[in-house]
């Protein structure tokens, strides 16, 4: 998600100036995504450059409101209509960390798994507490944001459980080789799988 589309969505409600946009953005994401005013103005000037918003005359208090243009509306509609692609999201550092833990000598992988699970569980408890405390009808957008974070945390814990079960079954066969050996049967299998995956 971009701040760009967030601001466009807010301007679709009506014209706003920078501080109003920042406040409205934080309100609709329940402050899960704090913005500084600099980010708001930088984004507004890019949107203006691209013809998606236009500035209006300054008010007497010196505030310059912005409004969305037709091109901005079309861009926003396209954003709502397009699913977020998984490849647009950052690589999962945790998955990489566990994969490395498994092949690095002297690392207790089960402890790494447990430490992460406890941390994620703690976050889940806090999120649930926030949710429990926001049950007014007008809290719904905020609750949906919280739910999304709750389900992501849950998925992470389930994946960690799965990792732990796999670790129990895993029979370590000594230290991992420093480089993959192309003549290794596993490597050949992996390459074949990758090829089939790519053809699908």
């Amino acid at each position: 998600m971009s701040i760009r589309h967030g601001l466009l969505a807010l301007l679709e409600r009506g014209q706003m100036y920078g501080y109003q946009l920042r406040a409205a953005f934080e309100e609709s994401t329940g402050s899960t995504w704090p913005l500084n005013i600099g980010q708001v103005y930088t984004t507004l000037s890019r949107l203006e450059r691209d013809g998606l918003v236009r500035p209006l005359p300054e008010s007497e208090a010196g505030q310059r409101p912005y409004e969305i243009t037709d091109a901005g509306r079309a861009d926003l509609a396209l954003w709502f209509a397009t699913p977020i692609s998984r490849t647009d999201r950052p690589r999962d550092e945790l998955a990489i960390k566990l994969a490395l833990a498994l092949t690095t000598p002297g690392v207790d992988v089960r402890s790494v798994v447990q430490a992460q699970r406890s941390a994620t569980m703690r976050a889940l408890q806090e999120l649930t507490r926030l949710k429990y405390g926001s049950n007014r009808p007008e809290d719904l957008p905020w609750r949906l944001v919280l739910d999304s974070m709750v389900f992501q945390a849950e998925a992470e814990v389930r994946w960690l459980d799965h990792c732990e079960t796999s670790l129990v079954r895993h029979q370590p066969s000594g230290p991992a080789p420093p480089v993959p050996r192309p003549d290794d049967a596993d490597a050949r299998d992996a390459a074949r799988w990758a090829g089939e995956e790519a053809r699908r």
């Binding site: 447990q114 569980m121 806090e126 649930t128």
Partner: protein, 244 residues
Amino acid sequence: MSGSDDAVLELRAVHRTHGAGPAAVHALRGVSLVVRPGELVAVMGPSGSGKSTLLALAGGLDRPTGGEVRVEGQPLGALDRRGLAQLRRRRIGYIFQQLNLLGSLSALENVALPLELDGTSGRRARALAMAALTEVGLPALGDRFPDQLSGGQQQRVAIARALVGERRLVLADEPTGALDSQTGEAVLHLLRRRIDAGAAGVLVTHEARHAGWADRVVFLRDGVLVDTTAPLGSVEQLLSGSDR
């Protein structure tokens, strides 16, 4: 974990071994746990880690082979079968995945049953049962029989039965089992409310989202407690952490 004077539930170095000799299965190996009023503790762990054994011992449904279980300061080992049954009826509420509602009794009668078995007068038992049904949001359905209720409503009746009267300890084993996520959440909401009103609870679950309702989450592995978590101190810390 300092003094445990106000503990509703206390497990002291509890062991539970099934069988003997080389074939013995050590379900729990020295588990200690204190649950105080207003506290919900979730127990998580893989299948076979001892979760359900822990719950059965806490509720006096099973006896430890070592260590001690206390409910409201009372060592369960010192009670005979009759005393134990009385404690279970009066002070402990159980919520299981299998609801065990009696099909020939109405919702209200199902909820009133444990009180009546304990000698409470019919009229008073019904009044308390109605209060419990109201607490779970079903004041109008007391006359319905279990087969006339939806799965979610049946689960609520089972919860009302677990909470009726003056239960101080609520033990739940995967209480949201077959329910959809919204209905399951409503069940946890009810449980949480009762705990906030001063009961103590233990929730066995394999779902992290449900364990999220707890004040503390303990992890069991091979019959041993391996970790405990409490929520983060501050919301800010959490939210800034989410913005990776």
